[in-house]
């Protein structure tokens, strides 16, 4: 295990991306993720990489498309309003089957919203965000350590399946400092015969494209992609269970909401309530299997979120609404207190309906 050092989440993420072999970063300043760009601006020129401050979020994601098309590990990072601007490019990446990492250090919305932590881009991330029939791989870190670890995972999965990956953090994850052991591993190298590297007169041209005017052809492309989505749903669900062995009340939370909820679960246990928590790490694919298993033993679920209730829909779908699911949430950049989550657990335990 590498020595632990104290780092800000955004910086740990940036350094991990470099360690994972990313040498092409394109971004645009926006709070609360600007440290990623600042870190890359310092590091990339020293290691022969590219840091480029684009003229817009739109340009940045399209630069990622260019570098990814050339077969290079590339990334961009932003925060909520910026991700909306990138959504066109993300849809093109999905349609072109291009890998790449998009980091969203979420802030409150809609509109210009605020700059405090939020999870209100859950729908946008897990449902694709842009136009068309597609998904992103969506990873949700809940510590500075995971800000680093999931970058490796994200790049690897993205290239393996040729699906863009979104690391969905929140302002807290980006801004807080924690001890982190940067992963001691080198980047996976994946063969990319589809990459645009020049024919050198030795092969037919490679074409990267999302246009198919014949509807049967476009349907075929989409069906092929959905076969990959099926494999991912089957094999890549990730979650962490906390005190779930005998749990009767299952809290579901990710990111900073999971950190708060863990304290609340401890408090509820001290009060004699058999509470536990499932923390989704992959938001897409959503850990349906873990939720479904929990539904066999638990009498109620509590979804804790920094939005007006978005993940709760996936919780209900996963357990096919067979148990009551209540919501404990704050929005606009506010974070629920442990006491608020405890109250929601108590209410769920007493058989209360929607909190």
């Amino acid at each position: 295990m590498a020595e632990k050092i104290l780092m800000k989440g955004n910086e740990a993420l940036a350094e991990a991306a470099i360690m994972a072999g990313c040498r092409h970063y394109f971004g645009y300043p926006i709070t609360p993720q600007t440290e990623v760009a600042a870190y890359m601006a310092k590091r990339m020129p020293r290691i022969g990489g590219t840091f480029l401050q684009a003229e817009s979020e739109i340009a940045a994601i399209n630069m990622v498309i260019g570098a990814a098309a050339a077969g290079k590990r590339s990334m961009t990072s932003s925060s909520s309003p910026g991700i909306s601007l990138k959504s066109e490019g993300i849809s093109y990446m999905a349609g072109c089957d291009l890998p790449g990492l998009i980091v969203n250090v979420q802030r409150g919305g809609p509109g210009l919203g605020g700059i405090q932590p939020s999870q209100s881009d859950y729908f946008q991330a897990t449902r694709g965000g842009g136009h068309g029939d597609y998904h992103l791989l969506v990873l949700a870190p809940n510590s500075v350590q995971e800000m680093a670890d999931l970058v490796f995972k994200g790049f690897d999965m993205s290239e393996k399946y040729r699906i863009p990956c979104m690391l969905l953090a929140d302002g807290t994850m980006g801004q807080m400092m924690e001890p982190v052991a940067l992963p001691e591993r080198s980047a996976e190298t994946i063969d990319k015969p589809w990459a645009l590297t020049g024919t050198e007169g030795k092969r037919k041209p490679n074409i990267i494209n999302s246009l198919a005017l014949a509807p049967h052809e476009l349907e075929e492309w989409n069906l092929e992609r959905f076969k990959r989505y099926d494999i991912i749903r089957e094999t890549e669900q990730m979650s962490e269970s906390y005190l779930m062995d005998d749990a009767e009340i299952c809290v579901v939370a990710f990111g900073i909401a999971a950190r708060v909820s863990q304290n609340a679960v401890d408090t509820a246990r001290a009060m004699g309530i058999k509470a536990g928590m499932i923390r989704p790490i992959t938001l897409w694919p959503f850990p349906e299997k873990a939720l479904k298993t929990a539904a066999d033993q638990c009498k109620a679920f509590v979804s804790v979120e920094l939005n007006m209730g978005q993940m709760i829909e996936d919780v209900k779908l996963s357990i096919e609404c067979c148990k009551p699911v209540s919501l404990c949430c704050r929005t606009g950049g506010m974070i629920p207190t442990p006491d608020e989550v405890v109250a929601a657990i108590v209410k769920a335990n007493e058989g209360g309906k929607q909190a």
Partner: protein, 250 residues
């Protein structure tokens, strides 16, 4: 002795363009430049959105299709990923001068070492003839049915003139392909725009005055004449910036 043959940098795919459209000539000139500089094997092209969306079927090199207006940003990513490759975009006026203005201006300002072929025919062709950023004052289109009224929709954008105010670009020239003389000159300009990149000189953009007989509602011959009489006076041909010859002249 072969005196005329198809450039090797073009594939055998039949072009889908309307009869009389000058895209075919411009494709050929780009391919001839690639042949002449022997760069096809290390060239990556960026197709845009508009009539030229299918260029990825026509050039015999690696190609990527970009979102509307974003080709210069995609080209920037490609070039930064591997500066040894030759990167070009092929864009129309709606793509380059309207929805993609920011990408155009900033790739030029950065002096990206890429080549842009900008086809200006003063109309949106693929969507059926709407007003373009380069449509002339008074020009009748589907979305300016009474003629472009500059009092309500403003004036056309002259890209070469605008970009020439920047320090970033290396080479900006406006050419036309409406007659043999202009085609021969356009060929030289396009080749130079690619050679600049090979030599690492920086951003080159060639604006090509083109025609759209279908959406202009003219015969191919009349369209060529209309370009001569109306477009070229508004968009004067010539070199708008040539950094290296300017420096040599100092």
């Amino acid at each position: 002795m072969i005196v005329f043959e198809k450039p090797k940098a073009l594939t055998d795919a039949p072009l889908h363009y309307c009869p009389g459209c000058t895209h075919g000539i411009i494709h050929r000139l780009v391919a001839e430049a690639m042949d002449s500089l022997d760069i096809t094997g290390r060239t990556i092209g960026v197709a845009s959105v508009g009539c030229s969306v299918f260029t990825y079927n026509y050039f015999n090199c690696d190609m990527v299709q970009a979102a509307h207006g974003r080709a210069p940003a995609v080209a920037t990513g490609l070039k930064r990923a591997d500066p040894s490759k030759i990167i070009f975009t092929y864009q129309g006026d709606g793509d380059l001068a309207s929805i993609g203005t920011a990408e155009t201006v900033h790739s030029a300002a950065r002096g990206e070492n890429i080549t842009i072929i900008f086809v200006n025919n003063a109309i949106y062709g693929m969507t059926g003839g709407q007003m373009a950023p380069t449509s002339l004052p008074g020009q009748v289109t589907q979305t300016s049915p009474y003629g472009r009224d500059v009092n309500t929709v403003g004036y056309p954008v002259r890209i070469c003139e605008m970009l020439s105010t920047l320090d970033g670009p290396c080479y900006l020239e406006r050419v036309a392909v409406n007659n043999v003389k202009n085609v021969r000159h356009a060929k030289k300009a396009i080749e130079k725009a690619f050679r600049n990149q090979v030599e690492g000189k920086g951003f080159s953009l060639i604006e090509v005055i083109s025609t759209c007989p279908t959406n202009w509602g003219k015969t191919p011959q009349a369209a060529l004449e209309w370009a001569e009489q109306n477009m070229i006076p508004y968009y004067p041909l010539g070199v708008y910036k040539d950094k290296y010859s300017e420096e040599a002249g100092k």
